[in-house]
């Protein structure tokens, strides 16, 4: 288990608990068992205390936690079957984007996710979850396939942003993102997006303009990273804590703003503590949203989708 700085008090207690539990393996001493119980209670209380009062920056840290469940971890747990598909049929296969056909509760679904990669080798393979135009074009292929097969679309979003590189620009990063947004807005099947970790600007939005958008409790979604905002705003990238506060990028903020449709609670201590439980809750949210959306006609679906996005924004109308 990797601990974040604000979890340090918790880390010491948990380590102590682990030690006692090991001892208890070959010694069923009653006193020891009582001690373990007491310590467990203490750990739980402390965990509750630490996690009931998180700052925005602490949530950013959780969203970026190296053990955070990534789309493939989730897909594995919510699907009875999943067949990954590859390539954009134009240039290559972007491994930052995983996509394919899955089965959830015996119903087909097209899934697109952005995958960060866990260890160094996989991180490089996945380009740290930063997609190239090929990735978004692969996503668009999947949207069209879903439309043809009349299957719902589920996207799982966790990316620092679209990749800023020479090749990405040469092959039309802006165009790939723009068309992906458009394709997702017009696709004639129900669409559900879940921000599971970082919702990094346009690179996230490209596959998140859905009928229903949910965020995991400690996920973030923002127009710019706290570091980016800090370097512009305070001319100091280390003021990321202040920037995170100013950007209001947590699930709570976005629900309050009416930007997202709901929050999926994480297990105590964060999604990385319990993949199974996290996946179970994601699955539940998906199924509930799908059941509701499938009742609508295609026309009704598209028209409420347009309405949802055209209403977004906050401005003042001057009195004439």
């Amino acid at each position: 288990m990797r601990y974040l700085d604000f979890e340090q008090p918790l880390a010491n207690l948990e380590m102590e608990l682990d030690k006692l539990k090991k001892q208890a393996e070959n010694n069923k001493d009653e006193l020891l068992i009582r001690q373990i119980k007491e310590l467990e209670n203490k750990v739980n209380q402390m965990r509750k205390r630490v996690f009931s009062n998180l700052t925005r920056w602490q949530k950013v840290q959780l969203a970026r936690h190296p053990d955070r469940p990534y789309p493939l971890d989730i897909i594995q747990r919510i699907c009875e079957d999943f067949v990954e598909l590859h390539g954009d049929r134009l240039f290559g296969d972007d491994k930052a984007i995983v996509a394919g056909l899955g089965k959830i509760e015996n119903h087909g679904v097209v899934i697109v996710g952005i995958q960060k990669g866990r260890e160094t080798e996989e991180k490089i393979l996945r380009n740290f979850g930063m997609a190239h135009p090929e990735g978004y074009r692969k996503a668009m292929r999947m949207f069209s396939l879903a439309e043809k097969l009349k299957l719902p679309i589920l996207t799982l979003v966790d990316t620092p942003g679209a990749y800023p590189g020479i090749g990405a620009e040469e092959r039309g990063q802006f165009s790939a993102i723009a068309y992906s947004i458009k394709r997702m807005l017009e696709v004639k099947v129900p669409t559900i997006a879940i921000i599971t970790g970082e919702g990094g600007s346009g690179g996230a939005l490209a596959i998140a303009t859905a009928d229903r958008v949910y965020m995991l409790e400690y996920a973030i979604y923002s127009v710019i990273s706290p570091e980016g905002a800090a370097s512009i705003l305070f001319r100091d990238a280390s003021k990321n804590k202040e920037a995170a506060e100013s950007l209001k990028l947590t699930a709570d903020d976005l629900l309050r703003f009416g930007i997202i449709d709901g929050i999926i609670k994480e297990p105590l201590g964060g999604a990385h503590r319990d993949y199974d439980e996290t996946a179970r809750r994601i699955k539940k949210a998906f199924i509930r949203a799908f059941r509701e959306l499938r009742r609508k006609t295609i026309r009704g679906l598209i028209s409420s989708r347009y309405k949802k996005y055209r209403k977004m924004g906050k401005f003042i109308i001057a009195e004439s």
């Binding site: 800023p164 590189g165 020479i166 209001k248 703003f257 055209r310 977004m312 906050k314 003042i316 001057a318």
Partner: protein, 279 residues
């Protein structure tokens, strides 16, 4: 928001912002030009064809026969939904300098007698960045075009992309403006985007990239990520002319590069063909 607008007040080319300045120095060829001559050449240097950055109203006056005849969404004013540090003061300041409420204007005009809706952004106002007012004006202008079945032209000078100060609301304008483009598509109305220097970030990665025809001014910086961000990421020198109009044309990302002095004529030629369906 990947492209940092210049430190305030935005460094317009020296002298240009002062109308009573008689002489202007071209930042590209260093020629000293009488201001009055520049007015005649759509603010393009007659010696080296350097395109000076111009305001939204100036562009509207260059393209439209009689300027903007009726403005759309002038009553829409910016809010500060995040209570973002310094945002209110910034809005006030730019309002004072440029006499604009926000970074864009929209309205009806004629190009060689063809009625169109135009949407123009102004780099001076927070880098021409896209916030809620920008999105709402674009959406209203686009739906006006769709309903009245008249072509839609967007002329952009937007370095900042999405406006950081409105956070997630700005990001969502990428989706909102795209819904506007979908309305144009449904109405089968021609949609042309004209990209000035610069057009970047969330603006470029949404409605600006979705034009039926995409035209750029010569030498304009066009792309998704800003060159500085790319350089910091990859830690290598960027190729010469990277992300400029000519580069984007070469890579198949835009349709043509057109001199500002030819812009009206080009749009007029395109519109005449695009509105001539046999049906």
């Amino acid at each position: 928001m990947f492209f940092k607008p210049k430190k305030t007040p935005p460094k317009r080319e020296k002298g240009l912002k002062v109308p009573d300045d008689f002489w202007v120095k071209c930042p590209s060829c260093q020629s000293i030009l009488p201001n009055i001559d520049l007015e005649k050449t759509a603010k393009v240097c007659p010696k080296c064809s350097y395109h000076f950055r111009i305001s939204a109203y100036e562009y509207a006056n260059i393209l439209f026969d009689n300027g903007i005849e009726r403005e759309i969404g002038k009553e829409i004013l910016p809010d500060d939904p995040l209570d973002f540090p310094g945002y209110k003061q910034k809005l006030e300041k730019y309002k004072k300098i440029y006499g604009l409420n926000d970074s864009s204007i929209a309205g009806i005009g004629h190009i060689d007698g063809i009625k169109v809706t135009g949407f123009f952004t102004d780099f001076g106002f927070l880098g021409g960045s896209m916030g809620s007012v920008f999105g709402e004006k674009f959406y209203r202008a686009a739906t006006h075009s769709a309903k009245s079945r008249i072509p839609f032209i967007a002329v952009l000078f937007s370095g900042g992309g999405a406006r950081m100060h409105e956070g997630i609301f700005s990001l969502m304008q990428m989706a909102k403006t795209t819904v506007g483009v979908l309305e144009l598509e449904k109405a089968k109305v021609p949609y042309i985007t004209v990209l000035g220097d610069p057009t970047m970030g969330g603006v470029m990665a949404s409605f600006a990239a979705l034009g039926d025809v995409i035209i750029a001014e010569p030498g304009a910086l066009i792309g998704f990520a800003g060159p500085r961000v790319i350089q910091q990421t990859i830690r290598q020198e960027l190729p010469k002319g990277f992300q400029r109009s000519e580069f984007q044309l070469e890579h198949g990302q835009i349709d043509m590069v057109v001199d500002r002095r030819e812009m009206k004529k080009t749009l007029s030629r395109l519109l005449k063909i695009m509105t001539s369906s046999y049906l």
